[in-house]
Amino acid sequence: MSTVTTASPEVQEQDSQRGSRNTDYSLIDCDIHNAIQSPETIRKYLPSRWRSHHETYGVRSYTGSYYPRAVPNAARHDSWPPSGLPPGGDLEFMQHQLLDEWGFEYGILNCLAGGGGRNLDFAAALATAVNEWQIAEWLEPEPRLRASLIVPFEDGDLAAKEVDRLGEHPGFVQVLFVARTSEPMGRRKYWPIYEAACRNGIAVGIHFGGAGGHPITGSGWPSHYVEDHGGMPQAFQPQVTSLVMEGTFERFPELKVVLIEGGFAWLPPLMWRLDRSWELMREEVPEVKRPPSEYIREHIWTTTQPVEEPERPEHFHELLRQMDMDDHLMFATDYPHWDFDAPTSAFPRDMDKDLRDSILAGNARNLYGLP
């Protein structure tokens, strides 16, 4: 990263004067992105065979799905650390700008590197390297942080092995997928991962993004970044459909799935649609014993960023009642990305205090078993 912008001295001055926001409630951030500082950083954690591969070929993923972000690294302008490291790559700056500033009790790291790639052996080695880097450079130095376990999710057995290797580590609270997998997530190739997650008592997260080799629409490739970014809810919906209709939650009754950065206003109409369709065609999916909405309300959690913005605040309250998942909504900022949500302004001001507290911290504390 040769060119790095930093906050101007004036802004930094204002920031230091503002200090912690001193909110009067607990806060847990369920979506923070820690960035690998440089290719050399991750190579230190790779065995020599894969270090050489990384130097020679890099990560080969599904090409042709490149929609340049509106800003470099999709980052907030003020999130470029003075150290010259990339946004999300400087722990000290993250502590200052995010954890201390807002007073977060815990933050969940979702590193967006290392799970994909077409060479599955390399993906497994890279996942292990990322996890070791997370332990050494994030979890051990900062007790407020927890992390998602990076796995080569396109190979169920290799991924399950990594889950078993680190699932007991108290720093890892969930296994991370991206929304755009190569197959819908209810398909059997992924079952060993769910089995391992349940065996280790951790959740499965599905984060915005990825490249599984297919267009983001069911009708080919769009033209603009806004369609790729704004089209992500259309990638999450078939994942929910697949997980439910393949009977995944019957097979793995302990499975807990977190939708991260996918929105949630689409959930009520999707639940209605799934229930009606199941009623009509349930003989095709005999493993599905109950109305899909029941599985969703039991097994699926969702983070709130980018928060839904209905035209009127009362619509937001109605939406939450339609969802009926008050204890499954979890606040997230998406730091350091440009579409950051702040805990003080993400929700309507007249939100019930108990509900606000559950969303801002309580639900995540329960799901992830945080003290």
Binding site: I216, G218, S219, V226, E227, A265, P269, R321
Partner: protein, 349 residues
């Protein structure tokens, strides 16, 4: 009452023989070609036909007398918009696809439009070849029986893509609407995550493809390049529309610098240019019926919904059941005025 989505189907592929040139007659008689291969509604699936809609011979929707009995006599429509489910877009041979579309359209004139003045029909086109599609639209655009052009929700590029300009130019030149309908089989997976295992998933997942098409039409500027473009979305629900409005308006606020031709919030384009048919209506259970009123309120317009039976398809309940609690003036809009205005029809009740 206007029924805005009724399917008139070919009794069999060879019904088209008299409408095809010699090359394709030989091809249909001697090759292994058995149709488009789209199979949007597996013929024995519960969704393929409502009770009593399977004729003695031919697929549901292929018998004009049975269809008229059900749509006009039993369900009470005075006028029906036909939407033939044949899918030229699933035929990789583009010459054949275009000629099949022409054949189906001529068959629709002979066997449907000329047999009953209560029918209006949709022009089929080879959507994978917008230039050929435009030629077919120009051939038929002045025929009073055709009110729109049908595109399957699954094409090989989203419909806002610049490649479709000739098609939309032709449609707007003749003041025809565009119907985006459930189905299509371009050879691409129906989801962003590949191919699902079951039909019920494909059926559910189609809702998301419609959402993608709205994203594309608006952000790729189709309504800005073609101000007269009118689009109706059919057969995959509509209660997801407000959630899409909110998401797209938010995206537009953050990213509109990339698509400067989009001058208004996306929800404004939707209310002006897009309509949705009401079969199926995905809705909460009877104990939470007020939530459906909330969704209608979020649409922010009483002009967007067009009543449809989606005959002969069956989505689990009588297609008018969901409307029983609506205020009378809104029900009138949905069952009559909205479609009459959108399609510029005069209907005597």
């Amino acid at each position: 009452m206007i029924d805005s989505d009724v399917h008139n189907e070919l009794p069999k592929l060879k019904t088209l023989l008299p409408y095809l040139g010699e090359q394709w007659q030989v091809y249909l008689n001697e090759s292994a070609f058995v149709g488009s291969g789209a199979n949007d509604y597996p013929i024995n699936a519960p969704v393929a036909a409502r009770e009593g809609a399977r004729p003695e011979s031919g697929p549901p929707g292929s018998n004009i007398d049975l269809l008229r009995t059900h749509v006009f006599d039993d369900m009470g429509a005075n006028l029906a918009i036909l939407n033939c489910g044949f899918r030229p877009g699933a035929v990789h041979n583009q010459d054949l696809a275009a000629d099949l579309a022409t054949a189906v359209n001529n068959w629709q004139i002979d066997e449907w439009l000329e047999k009953d003045e209560r029918f209006r029909a949709s022009i089929l086109v080879s959507n994978q070849n917008p230039v050929r599609a435009a030629a077919e639209i120009d051939r038929l655009g002045s025929h009073p029986g055709f009110v729109q052009v049908v595109l399957p929700v699954q094409g090989d590029a989203p419909y806002g893509n610049l490649r479709y300009d000739p098609l939309f130019e032709a449609a707007t030149r003749h003041d025809l609407a565009i119907l985006i309908a459930f189905g299509g089989a371009p050879g691409l997976p129906p989801t962003a995550t590949g191919w699902p295992s079951t039909y019920v998933e494909e059926y559910v997942d189609a809702g998301a493809i419609f959402q993608s098409q709205v994203n594309s039409l608006i952000f790729e500027g189709a309504f800005d390049r073609h101000p007269g473009l009118r689009v109706v979305l059919s057969e995959s629900g509509w209660t997801w529309m407000p959630s899409l409005m909110w998401r797209m308006d938010k995206e537009w606020k953050g990213l509109r610098r990339d698509t400067p031709w989009v001058k208004q919030p996306p929800s404004a384009y939707m209310r002006e240019h897009i309509r949705l048919t009401t079969a199926p209506t995905d809705r909460p259970g009877p104990d939470r019926a007020h939530e459906l009123s909330e969704i209608i309120d979020y649409l922010g317009s009483d002009r967007m919904l067009l009543y449809a039976s989606d005959y002969p398809h069956w989505h689990g309940e009588d297609p008018s059941a969901w409307m029983s609690d609506l205020p009378a003036d809104l029900r009138e809009r949905i069952t009559h005025s909205n479609a009459a205005e959108f399609y510029k029809l005069t209907v005597t009740a």
